[in-house]
């Protein structure tokens, strides 16, 4: 299975790293040159990672794993007001982005209060489009318990963050309640690390279950084919094709691009044969959900 990594090193002889990745059957996702340094994000299947790491060491660089590099995570805030933004929601988002995640902040319309709290159906659908969701609730355990009952309905993996250090349910990280300032003390960073570890555990489980019945082509491979055939690589602005664990989100208008995306060639078939392509509930983007081997009628 493809995993995401980033090479951090100098621009001198970085082409050797790129050649090695291509030889090993990996895919170079992005190159970010900064004067004399360069970051190369790539996807690779495990067997010869050590050899690549040795080469990186020889060139005085480093290869780090970015475990969330092929995921989109929703950070759900009870509202978009001063009570909840920017701290801690933006702190969580920024922290996870360092590990490669693409994050979206979803602000609920009626996520505050105790008696009036609700998650609308369309908000639920939006959150379920992501690979994981982090809910940032407040300080009081009575409120969080009530809110958790409704949050349970979400079918995607989720973690609830709140003030009290312990709560009577799983998927909970404490000591991230309402914050007055940026989370930068050692204890706060440790809490964020704990959040990242819990998320990693959940995602590993999801990855394992996908691995048992995988789609015939990995999302990373489909992304490369899309970018080559639709000519959308290298556009200014944000990354138009975002990876999910078993699909992709394409940030292009549905009405204009739907047919072109269906016709993209993958091997001997088209993308339309291998996936379900729908309009997303978020902005005007296109969701591609790759069908597993058993769904395609395979063994």
């Amino acid at each position: 299975m493809f995993k995401m990594y980033v090479f951090k090193g100098g621009t001198y002889r970085h082409d050797e790293i790129i050649e090695k990745i291509e030889d090993l059957g990996g895919i170079v996702m992005q190159k970010t040159p900064m004067q004399t340094e360069i970051d190369i994000t790539f996807a690779l299947q495990a067997p010869d990672l050590d050899n690549l790491k040795e080469l990186a060491k020889k060139l005085k660089g480093d290869i780090l794993e970015i475990p969330f590099g092929d995921m989109e995570i929703a950070i759900v805030s009870p509202s978009l007001s001063r009570h909840h933004l920017p701290h801690p929601v933006c702190d969580i988002s920024e922290f996870l982005r360092r590990y490669g995640a693409t994050t979206n902040i979803v602000g609920l319309a009626r996520g505050y209060g105790k008696t009036i709290f609700q998650i609308k159906d369309i908000e639920k659908k939006m959150i379920e489009e992501h690979d994981a969701a982090i809910f940032s609730y407040g300080l009081f355990s009575d409120c969080i318990v009530l809110k958790e009952k409704e949050t349970k309905e979400i079918s995607t993996s989720y973690i609830i963050c709140g003030g009290p250090s312990k709560m009577p349910f799983d998927n909970y990280i404490g000591n991230i309640g309402r914050k007055g300032g940026r989370m930068r003390s050692a204890a706060e960073i440790a809490t964020l690390e704990e959040l990242k570890e819990m998320l990693l555990e959940k995602i590993e489980k999801t990855r394992e279950s996908i691995e048992k019945d995988p789609p015939p082509y990995a999302p990373v491979y489909i992304k490369r084919a899309l970018e080559e055939q639709l000519g959308i690589k290298g556009t200014l602005g944000d990354n138009p094709v975002v990876l999910h664990l078993n699909g992709l989100r394409i940030k292009l208008p549905y009405n204009i691009y739907y047919n072109k995306i269906c016709d993209v060639k993958i091997g001997n078939v088209t993308l339309g044969d291998l996936s379900r392509i729908n309009k997303s509930y978020m902005n005007d983007t296109i969701l591609v959900r790759l069908l597993s081997e058993s769904e395609l009628g395979g063994e």
């Binding site: 050797e16 090993l24 059957g25 010869d48």
Partner: protein
């Protein structure tokens, strides 16, 4: 005893490697013996449940409910759907011996468990959970498995569906041990598979790349430069540029050549499926002996062959060419100087695969006196020799050529075309000290603007080099013996070079 030799069943009464294959392997060029140890491997108690809508594969946990499941499989085959709801699909019914309870439990999506219909012990059901929920099913939390494949089928089930068959998944896995043999007196056992060589199949859609490979393996040997889990690689022809003839999935056993970048020209053999890449041309695959390649380390070699024999007649005489072409069974046509001892300077088609497809080849000969033997100074001017081989074509062919850009009967030297760009890499080496001899071929190095130019003098000279430059701006790369024979050469002529020895 019965053994296998390179995938061919063989009977033998000998017992050592050397006696069986006729020669002794060495540490440089080893062989391997493959021994089978078959094991019946059950995959984690996985079952395939065939239903009218398709197959559900479940992985089971080791608990008392699984034991009940395992011991009563025949009872569950043929069960109909009792009911489906938002969260579950229920097949039944059958009698159950456990205690009834009204306790609620937390079930996860795709759990497989036992429950009761209407809290009645005679109405047991198998429940597949579509979506996690908290509820009671009449029994203690009897989860014994999880659906891993076919999850989508649960959402398609209707009241008319039923379980047809339940089978345990069993995979007979063959595990092999590989023994590397580096000496001739290794003993052989019954049913051993001795693998001594690699046999490949070439794709006729890639004539240039196949020619490159055939040149590399002209002596029947493949040497390993780098060996990883994903591939092994040979870098002897690094630096040769080839066109991109075919981008294809690099499946296990594929042969490919890198066509761009620093490592262009290297040949790769893949041990795992790898996705295709525009920087590699896939031109064939290994049909025998991949296991041998996987065991080799850098600097070790192996015998390698393909069904196609390289047809390269450049530098041979017409007569030698005729004998060579005859072996391939295709038609041979002599053009130009057709006498037996004329030296071949061109063949049409140039590439072996094209000639085989066309089923004929024409060889153009010239008078041997237009072909000159050269001696390359590989030891003292390796960098310049590398350059010289590339610009003359001697890197990949037995016959090289140089184009004359300047020759005049009153001037003591001849100048040939070089490559200014590649010449930029020519660091000064082996430059003449006191005198330049007649017949010494020199190349202008990076110190001068005319870098890359090739030249040769008819007479000794103690002031300037063979290209008219200072001694320090000249690298001496080779020597032509019969320099006098070049005196009739004019501007725009081509001379042909054969390596001496």
């Amino acid at each position: 005893m019965n053994i296998m030799l390179d995938s061919n069943p063989t009977k033998t009464d000998k017992n050592t490697i050397e006696k069986i294959i006729g020669y002794a392997p060495t540490p440089d060029m080893p062989i391997i013996i493959e021994r089978k140890t078959t094991k019946d491997v059950t995959i984690k108690n996985t079952y395939d449940i065939t239903t009218t809508k398709g197959i559900l594969r479940i992985e089971t946990y080791n608990n008392e409910y699984y034991q009940f499941f395992k011991n009563n499989i025949e009872k569950f085959e043929g069960l109909n759907i009792q009911w489906t709801d938002k969260n579950t699909v229920n097949f039944g019914t059958f009698p159950v011996n456990s205690d009834v309870t009204r306790k609620q439990f937390d079930y996860e999506s795709y759990d497989v468990l036992f429950g009761l219909s209407g809290f009645d012990k005679s109405q047991g059901v198998i429940i597949f959970v579509k979506k996690g929920y908290i509820g009671n099913n009449g029994l203690e939390k009897g989860v014994f498995g999880k659906v891993v494949k076919g999850k989508h089928l649960l959402f398609e089930m209707e009241s008319s569906d039923k379980i047809i068959k339940i089978e345990k998944r069993q995979v007979r896995s063959e595990i092999f041990d590989y023994k590397i043999v580096t000496s001739g007196n290794e003993l052989v056992q019954e049913n051993d598979h001795i693998i001594t060589k690699v046999v490949v199949d070439l794709d006729e859609n890639c004539p240039y790349t196949c020619e490159h490979f055939l040149f590399l393996t002209a002596n029947g040997i493949f040497e390993i430069t780098e060996s990883l889990n994903t591939y092994c690689k040979n870098a002897s022809l690094k630096g040769v540029t080839l066109p991109n003839e075919q981008t294809k999935l690099r499946s296990k056993g594929s042969l490919s050549v890198r066509i761009s970048g620093k490592e262009e020209g290297c040949v790769y053999i893949y041990f795992n499926d790898s996705i295709e890449d525009k920087t590699h041309t896939v031109f064939g695959n290994v049909i025998k002996g991949l296991e041998l390649l996987q065991q080799l380390k850098p600097k070790q070699k192996t015998k390698i062959s393909s069904s196609i024999m390289r047809i390269n007649t450049l530098g041979l005489t017409q007569l030698q060419a005729e004998k060579l072409v005859k072996k391939s069974g295709i038609e041979h046509i002599r053009v130009g100087n057709a006498s037996d001892d004329a030296i071949i300077i061109r063949q049409d088609p140039e590439l072996t695969l094209d000639a085989i497809k066309k089923n004929s080849i024409a060889t153009e000969g010239v008078d041997p006196k237009n072909v000159f033997k050269v001696q390359l100074y590989e030891d003292v001017a390796p960098n310049t020799v590398r350059y010289f081989k590339i610009i003359t074509g001697l890197k990949t062919r037995a016959l090289g050529r140089l184009s004359v850009i300047f020759a005049h009967e009153e001037v003591d030297m001849i100048l040939f075309t070089g490559d200014t760009k590649l010449g930029g890499d020519l660091i000064p080496e082996n430059h003449p000290t006191n005198i330049v001899k007649a017949g010494d071929i020199g190349v202008t190095n990076m110190a001068s603007r005319q870098k890359g130019t090739v030249g040769v003098r008819f007479n000794d000279n103690d002031e300037y080099g063979p290209t008219g430059e200072d001694f320090s701006h000249t690298n001496i790369v080779a020597h032509i013996e019969n320099i006098g024979a070049l005196s009739s050469i004019k501007d725009n002529d081509t001379i042909y070079l054969l390596l001496d020895g």
